[in-house]
Assembly symmetry: C2
Homo-oligomer: 110 residues x 2
C-alpha cells in the first residue's frame, strides 16, 4: 500500500469513524493505526483472512463515500492552508487587509 | 414550532442533507425552507399527512444523530465565534500574541 493511501485512510478514519460500526472501527484501527496484517486481525477475531479483507475494503469505500458527501478532509486541508498563511501574516504584522481577506475565505468554508 | 428549533433544523439540514434520501430532502426542504404545511406537502406528493409527518420526524432524529456523531454545527458555531474575535483583533491591529492564541484554538477544532 502506498504511503499516500495510508495517510488518506488515516485521515478519513479520523473524520468519519463515529459513523462506522464497532467491528469496522476495530478492524480499521488495527490495520491502519496499529499496522496489524490481515492475517493477524483474522487470528485475533477468529474469522477468515478474506472476511477481514472484505470488511476493510467495504469500510474504505464507505469512508470515501462520506468524504464525497461531506468533504470534511478536503475542507480540513483548505483550512489548514489558510491558517498557515494567516499565521505568517500575523507574525509579519500589520497586513490587515490581506488578513481580513483570509478570514473571509475561512468563513466561506463553513 | 419554536424559532430556535426551526433555525437549528435549517442548519442541521444544511450540514447533513447530502446523507439523506431524495424524498427526505424534498420533504425537509419544503417544510423548513419553503414553509409548506404538512398538509400541503401531503397533497403535493399524494400521500397522507401522517406519512409526511412520520418521515419528517424520522429525518429530524437522523439529523440530530449525525450531529451527535460529527458535531459539524457545534464546530461551525465555535469557529464563527473565534473568527469574529479574530476579525476584531485584526481591525484593532498589533495584538499579535492574542491573535496567535486564537489561531491555535481554531486549528485544534479540526
Amino acid at each position: 500500500m502506498t504511503l499516500e493511501k495510508t495517510t488518506r485512510m488515516n485521515y478519513l478514519f479520523d473524520f468519519y469513524q463515529s459513523l462506522l460500526t464497532a467491528k469496522q472501527k476495530s478492524y480499521m484501527s488495527l490495520y491502519y493505526l496499529d499496522d496489524f496484517s490481515l492475517g493477524e486481525i483474522a487470528d485475533e477475531y477468529e474469522v477468515s483472512r478474506q472476511a477481514v479483507y472484505d470488511n476493510i475494503k467495504r469500510t474504505e469505500a464507505m469512508l470515501e463515500q462520506y468524504e464525497e458527501k461531506l468533504l470534511l478532509f478536503k475542507k480540513f486541508k483548505e483550512r489548514k492552508e489558510l491558517l498557515k498563511k494567516m499565521r505568517e501574516l500575523v507574525a509579519d504584522s500589520a497586513q490587515t487587509e490581506e488578513a481580513e481577506a483570509l478570514i473571509e475565505s475561512l468563513e466561506k468554508l463553513d
